[in-house]
Assembly symmetry: D3
Homo-oligomer: 192 residues x 6
Amino acid sequence: MIALSDPISAFPVPDLASLPEDVRARILAVQEKSGFIPNIFLALAWRPEEFRAFMAYHDALMGKREGLTAAEREMIVVAISIGNQCQYCVVAHGAILRVRAKDPAISEKIAANWRKARLPARSRAILDYATKVATASHLVSSEDRAALAAAGLTQDEVWDVGAIAAFFSMSNRLANAIDLTPNPEFQAIGRG
Amino acid sequence: MIALSDPISAFPVPDLASLPEDVRARILAVQEKSGFIPNIFLALAWRPEEFRAFMAYHDALMGKREGLTAAEREMIVVAISIGNQCQYCVVAHGAILRVRAKDPAISEKIAANWRKARLPARSRAILDYATKVATASHLVSSEDRAALAAAGLTQDEVWDVGAIAAFFSMSNRLANAIDLTPNPEFQAIGRG
Amino acid sequence: MIALSDPISAFPVPDLASLPEDVRARILAVQEKSGFIPNIFLALAWRPEEFRAFMAYHDALMGKREGLTAAEREMIVVAISIGNQCQYCVVAHGAILRVRAKDPAISEKIAANWRKARLPARSRAILDYATKVATASHLVSSEDRAALAAAGLTQDEVWDVGAIAAFFSMSNRLANAIDLTPNPEFQAIGRG
Amino acid sequence: MIALSDPISAFPVPDLASLPEDVRARILAVQEKSGFIPNIFLALAWRPEEFRAFMAYHDALMGKREGLTAAEREMIVVAISIGNQCQYCVVAHGAILRVRAKDPAISEKIAANWRKARLPARSRAILDYATKVATASHLVSSEDRAALAAAGLTQDEVWDVGAIAAFFSMSNRLANAIDLTPNPEFQAIGRG
Amino acid sequence: MIALSDPISAFPVPDLASLPEDVRARILAVQEKSGFIPNIFLALAWRPEEFRAFMAYHDALMGKREGLTAAEREMIVVAISIGNQCQYCVVAHGAILRVRAKDPAISEKIAANWRKARLPARSRAILDYATKVATASHLVSSEDRAALAAAGLTQDEVWDVGAIAAFFSMSNRLANAIDLTPNPEFQAIGRG
Amino acid sequence: MIALSDPISAFPVPDLASLPEDVRARILAVQEKSGFIPNIFLALAWRPEEFRAFMAYHDALMGKREGLTAAEREMIVVAISIGNQCQYCVVAHGAILRVRAKDPAISEKIAANWRKARLPARSRAILDYATKVATASHLVSSEDRAALAAAGLTQDEVWDVGAIAAFFSMSNRLANAIDLTPNPEFQAIGRG
């Protein structure tokens, strides 16, 4: 309705054909899986080295299947991203969260106010700590880690919550700094 | 998936049968129109006088059909409500905004970051002023009103933007203070 | 000494003669009771429907005589209004508070820092909760309501504290957005 | 009405008789002039060296009669002190401001929101700079000093505005840290 | 003098011998070059995949030799890291900055207040933008990028400033979340 | 490397020869002791009365040898000064702290994040309270003073912590308002 034209990013977006083989392969793989290329792939491809490091880091934290569930990981991303007002990340990871949690209402509720989302105690402890890492990491102390342990998290899971909150504190700022636009395809995903 | 049971509000919710006639009539009318009773009606009905004043105020600001469009009014509500982390208002008015704007992606983009939503200049001027009224009204000055005039708003429209931002600064706080839960029906509305 | 001329509001102020009968009657009643017309009445009269809803809401919350005392209600208003730097509300409700509390020093002390005003525990609990509703309502939880219950408040009183804090979060913003000027008469009221 | 007993300070308050001669003389002089001993004198007298330095600094900045007027100096104090929620300073210097400005309404209007007090341009420039020194001094730059020069202030006056804002940033914190109580006599002063 | 014992991190630190070959090689290389192993290497080695991605990302942004100078890159890191109160990053990158800038006083001045460090216009523009990306990335717009262009930065350099600010927004939070301790060796480096 | 020319202050700096005898004597004494004249002495000498009061206050709080140790007093100054981004105070008192604590690494660690500096409980309690006085003195209560008593501080020491935090809340703002430049000599002091 009211949107002006939407370039992908404020920086140059390279041709697929001009990209290094491994970068192009990664992009074609995500396109095959999702049916479209999420704009973060195209925007970051302008910098192949950073693309590789970003994706490797992302996969290490978000693709892991022990410990935190996939839905828990995505919940952290949505909660952090709305705090940083990263439109791309809220829209894209909101879609993934709906799919992972098999709940079409979850992403909007987490984004609006996770504290009012009547989540189980474990989820609340996770988001409480993730929020602190994202907004006041200088105050994090052993008491915060102990609170997560008391909520049943292992030491590995505590690291993961902090690392995911930190990683998206980076990606939120990167996406905001380059005016990254969310693909229109995200909005219909996981609406049930 | 992960939600615990959802009471409507932290305060008593009266029986429809026990309500004053005019309050019940208003509730039945919205139920007939929407297919369900938005929880704000049930929660406020515990206080019939406040119910009447709230609805009259709401209708005066949101039901008006001159000046600001319905979509512009709802855009203000979503932008203010995410700032106050009012889950009920983000979910409910997000649904109405999608319908009014005939755009299934609009509410999530406004909520995530209206400044990145590539809106036309008039919309940006409206949301800029509404945000200032909601977050730093003590700094509002004639320069802010002049900026809206420069973006083409009439004096009547400038009042409306400020009044809507102020009214939802109240409803956001009220909904948060009573732990008002959004109806599950909202999430599917206007998804296109 | 140093004030420039003081228009009532940045928006048009209607003639009493041009107003709908009920609005004019309400204004004449307050004038008869107070000896002058508080500017909020004149400024809001530009919008009769909003005037009626605002006054009905105000009366439902501030005119009630069960539960919170009149002085407690006005204390909330002064504490919230200074936080929002609403000059009109601080001056006007400061006057009413001095009268209701029969204490010429109370409004200035509450405005400067209610936490240092050596208030009884019940008042402190009320202002603590009201401040939270006004400044961080997204963090309000059942623990906050339990703290009020522990300080002796009924469920009805807890609602009222939250609703008054929310209502003046609106009026503070409205008054600031329209540059509402306090009547000079307020300053001498209740000085003992 | 609702106040509990009011000790002067959270720290020991010495007997006048036990004080060094010069400190006692200064206290008796203010008592003779004002009709009562402002509590800051008694509270600080616990530390005679600090008492002497504080008073000497205060007099150098507030007693000076060239440049800024006495009313301008006190306006700065009230504006800074409400920002720091220093009850003692708002009440005590509010009284002095009313006297200096010969305006019974001025202190409450400055405290509530000096930006809405319709002050002349020179006063606004002074309070704008003083507020920046008090709340974000790390951002002060030559542009801020140039704005004061443009409003007609001399270099000496610019120093004074900054120094007064800085000095009361100290006294506000000191008074808050020792729970200094304002004398009841202040409230009636300068009410016209 | 007053420090308690200093474990490297709140999480397990692996034996060099137990590490994957490439991770160990990278660590031995930095030890050979610096004379000690910076603690970030040991702490991250607990997670070899994250170690590799972090180092690859770091090297892509900080090891690049076109565009921004090495001193400019490190200045950004120090300015962002003090804002996030990341002790490890301030101490470690303060040392590198002193070396790169050949100026023993530079890191402390940047950390204390880069705006008061009397830097040339290009450096100020860089740190102004980096600070905005780190603290309010949701407000970044094309005007900010234009300001950098006006200060002489190329599009590539603008990306780099934003990407470095974003990357250290992550590492600051990660280091704070794991209580990473700076090696004592850093403090003497580059003191001239 | 990159610094432009460094005037001492944005205000006039008087000739030593033109100063009142006592002011000049005090300056010559510090020059004899330190080997150079710290710029604060020259900048404040423009205002001899303020110079005398400032130095007397400073000496009463920082020169005292009972109660808090010299290192504890300087730790407070560094922690408060970095919070206010006062470059002069961080650099100058960082040097003194290194000397007093006989620890070349201490000032940078306190400045970066005293909470991560693994200090003993007494130091943490001191800095916690000093930070509260500097940043939120309106919230200080008897509970805060009780926490210091529980950490072993006497009533005299509690006053001193608050008074030092308040005094440097003033000097930080004053130094920032006049663009006071740190002497280059400070950086090498106490590096061990």
